[in-house]
């Protein structure tokens, strides 16, 4: 089968990494053509965790389909739900109350920190450091507890509904988030001591997985993968949604174009997320947490598209409506798919051991890529 592709020559070795391999995240299947230890080609094979979420959504109503999207990028479940809720609100022209929008932004940023923390632990574990995983999960547990208290679940929360939120905040929410901010500001410096400054870590990351600015744009990369190459791609800045235009934060940019730059982007992004939460946590306006909506939602005939910035990049939701209670067609533009497509370009010519570092900094979540 692989001979037909025509890239292999005499003496080349084809190995499979995945779908069930400790070095890959989730069930990613990579077919790698090797010449000695030098990578000639990386071919991602998808389909192992395909659940046809887009087709499933066509048979669910506009209230029901939102919960399914938590299962795509399960590490930023809130942000996925936000994109879908926003798309339905755009079609129905629902005005979301200010309180709901502020809470949504706080929840999104908490999710972003939780996602980046898991990435930080898993990435360091890929490189060979084992304890950072426990350090990261210690702080992530605090976010999970906050989520459990307000949303009722730790991973697939389903807290956003078209028109606002499912329930109001838990009375302890603000107190716990403030405690978390104080704790996290102290701990993030420990992360730098443990991993960022480490000489072994820097040597394994610097210059590995070079992706130039032009290539990042042409491959459609978004999120930290693109910003590591100096591309302005933060949807929160470019196309502000919710209350992102009212808060002060910097779009983090690095010009290193390598794995270390993408690593630094995420570490600095966590600090920016904390900055956003700090501005909003004391200024949650009073009012309704949900707008009055009709019992049965029917989007008018037409096409609707919204995009948000998840922890991995740009997530777009495209709904085609025929005027009924269910969407005619739904398409998700997931960030991981485009970022993964750049892996082959990055990896060619480098050594097999560096592939793990590249995959780590792309922050791949396979259910998001495969849907």
């Amino acid at each position: 089968m692989f001979e037909e592709i025509g890239t292999t020559t005499e003496g080349d070795l084809i190995i499979n990494v995945g779908p069930q391999h400790p070095a890959t995240h989730g069930v990613l299947h990579l077919v790698i053509t090797l010449n000695g230890e030098t990578i000639k080609k990386v071919e991602p094979h998808l389909g192992y965790i395909h659940r046809s979420i887009e087709k499933m959504c066509e048979s669910l109503t506009y209230r029901q389909f939102i919960y399914v999207t938590s299962r795509m990028d399960y590490l930023s479940a809130h942000i996925n739900n936000h994109a879908c809720a926003m798309c339905v609100e755009k079609g129905m022209q629902i005005e979301v109350p200010e309180r709901a929008q502020v809470i949504r932004v706080i929840m999104d940023e908490l999710t972003r920190i939780a996602s980046h923390e898991l990435w930080w632990g898993a990435m360091a574990m890929d490189i060979g450091a084992f304890t950072p995983f426990f350090h990261a999960f210690r702080e992530r547990e605090k976010i999970n507890e906050i989520m459990e208290e307000t949303c009722g679940a730790r991973l697939t929360m389903n807290y956003y509904v078209p028109g606002g939120l499912m329930a109001d905040l838990h009375p302890d929410f603000q107190k716990k988030v403030k405690e978390f901010i104080v704790l996290f500001k102290r701990k993030i410096d420990e992360y730098d001591e443990l991993v960022t400054g480490n000489i072994i870590f820097i040597n394994r990351m610097k210059g590995v997985g070079f992706l130039s600015k032009e290539d990042a744009i042409s491959y459609g990369c978004s999120g930290p993968a693109a910003r590591g190459s100096g591309v302005n791609s933060d949807i929160r800045k470019l196309y502000p949604y919710a209350v992102y235009d009212k808060v002060q934060f910097d779009e983090v940019l690095e010009t290193g174009c390598d794995s270390l730059a993408r690593y630094m982007i995420r570490i600095r992004e966590m600090k920016q997320s904390i900055r956003i939460i700090e501005q909003l946590i004391d200024n949650i306006p009073e009012g309704d947490f949900q707008a009055k909506t009709k019992a049965v939602l029917k989007l008018p005939k037409g096409e609707f598209y919204t995009r948000v910035e998840t922890a991995r990049g740009e997530l777009g939701v495209y709904i085609v409506s025929e005027g009924g209670t269910t969407p005619y067609r739904i398409k998700f533009r997931s960030p991981g798919f485009s970022n993964l497509s750049a892996l082959d370009h990055m990896a060619r010519g480098s050594k097999l051991g560096d592939l793990v570092a590249m995959m780590g900094t792309l922050d791949l979540v396979i259910p998001d890529i495969d849907r």
Partner: protein
């Protein structure tokens, strides 16, 4: 020049490792605080959040009465056909026929704990319970009937 850079790199690298080891040493010597849940040893004292979505239950009062009118709002709201309302006709004391639920069948194996049925219920007849140990030996045990046998609807709930 090369030698100077080489020595600088070696000592700089050594310093970075020592900084990391200092942090590791701190946690090695300060291990009083246990941050992990000692499950299942703490099962008696384990308290979950009030809103934790464990499974759907139907609360009954001391007279074995529930609040479900059998309106099928939960059945329509559910994305996975987890809930199924089976209705029957009761004869009221005046001799009229009145619609009431026979049983509310709940498939725990299909449930994703999305909370949509709880939000949809107009009479607050079902709530989320904070249980989480759902494993059973037989798959049929996951299909539950939420209303107690012989239960009937509370007075005043329409």
């Amino acid at each position: 020049m090369f030698i100077v850079k080489y020595i600088k790199d070696v000592f700089g690298g050594l310093k970075s490792l020592l900084i990391g080891m200092r942090r590791t040493g701190y946690y090695f010597t300060h291990h009083k605080e246990i941050i992990t849940e000692q499950y299942p040893d703490n099962r008696d004292t384990l308290v979950l959040a009030d809103r934790f979505k464990g499974e759907v239950v139907m609360p009954h009062d001391e007279n074995n009465e529930h609040r479900c009118t059998g309106c099928t709002a939960c059945e329509l709201a559910c994305p996975n056909a987890t809930l199924k309302v089976v209705t029957k006709f009761d004869i009221t004391p005046e001799g009229k026929k009145k619609k009431a639920i026979d049983k509310l069948v709940y498939h725990l194996e299909l449930c994703t704990m999305c909370n949509l049925c709880i939000v949809a219920c107009p009479s607050d007849a079902i709530v989320m319970a904070q249980t989480f140990e759902h494993s059973v030996f037989n798959r049929a045990d996951l299909t539950k009937i939420l209303n107690n046998p012989g239960s009937k609807i509370m007075d005043g709930v329409e």
